[in-house]
Symmetry: C2
Subunit: 153 residues, 2 copies
């Protein structure tokens, strides 16, 4: 295996998990910054041309994991690998952000759902999408269907 | 930070990196298996309903990193965070696979581009895509344009 090192940190409007929008049909539009450690700046060469990035980061406040848990959107428990729960065997988060601009080691991005100060492990270019026609979204789609006349209306 | 643990391993047709299709417009259609350690099986509950999954894994044969490198598709160097190079500060790989079926701890998937025996750190449901209309693909799109009459025809 390997020893994870932070290559940067998230600057986000969220300082507590309760502030992060969650649940049914939520859109993450909050703006933030990925601030890279100076030693990695050269690794950002040419990143400016990509509209979207994958950010791989650490749930640094999570402590332990649950194999089954009910996410905020549902009352029924689901397996951790079928959810985005922070309580995972490896506390790794994944977020797709839109790249708004770059100034040196700082990437301005839209779509942060991480806490301020979150350590970043990696950033990768977002290269292609799965078409909506091919996508099935399991229990999440079921919950949305059940709530069509409710809070997701 | 945290100490990474494998939650499973990839079974793939590829035993050497040279066998993995790379470069311009490549489609990853190889089938493989994500074999979870028995202790994590409960964490797969309800995963069957998702058509696509993110797999977060370890480049276990990579040794060290380069902040700048020329990917197989291009002769010009790019920053490591603008490529999928295995030689990254944290040797973490990310692949979107299509879930074909599950038998206990084994997920049959399509789209593997990992070596056989690759340790898996996490699996997450793929919930939404960036629309093609919004996606810009930086240097990769430029290379594809330059090669339109060449090997990417």
């Amino acid at each position: 295996m390997f020893t994870p090192v932070p290559v940067g940190w998230i600057r986000s409007p969220y300082t507590e998990t309760a502030q992060i929008p969650k649940g049914c049909g939520v859109q993450h539009v909050a703006e933030g910054v990925i601030e890279f450690a100076a030693e990695y700046e050269v690794g950002l060469t040419d990143i400016d041309g990509f509209s979207h990035l994958y950010v791989i980061w650490v749930f640094h406040r999570a402590n332990g994991f649950d194999l089954l848990g009910a996410p905020p959107i549902d009352t029924r428990p689901h397996g951790v690998f079928a959810t985005r729960s922070p309580r995972r065997p490896n506390p790794i988060g994944l977020t797709v952000v839109e790249l708004l601009g770059r100034q040196g080691t700082r990437l301005a991005v839209r779509g942060v759902d991480m806490l301020d100060g979150t350590p970043v492990l990696d950033v990768k270019p977002y290269l292609s999408s799965v078409s909506d026609a091919k996508l099935r979204r399991g229990w999440l789609a079921e919950v949305e269907d059940r709530r069509k006349t409710g809070q997701c209306g």
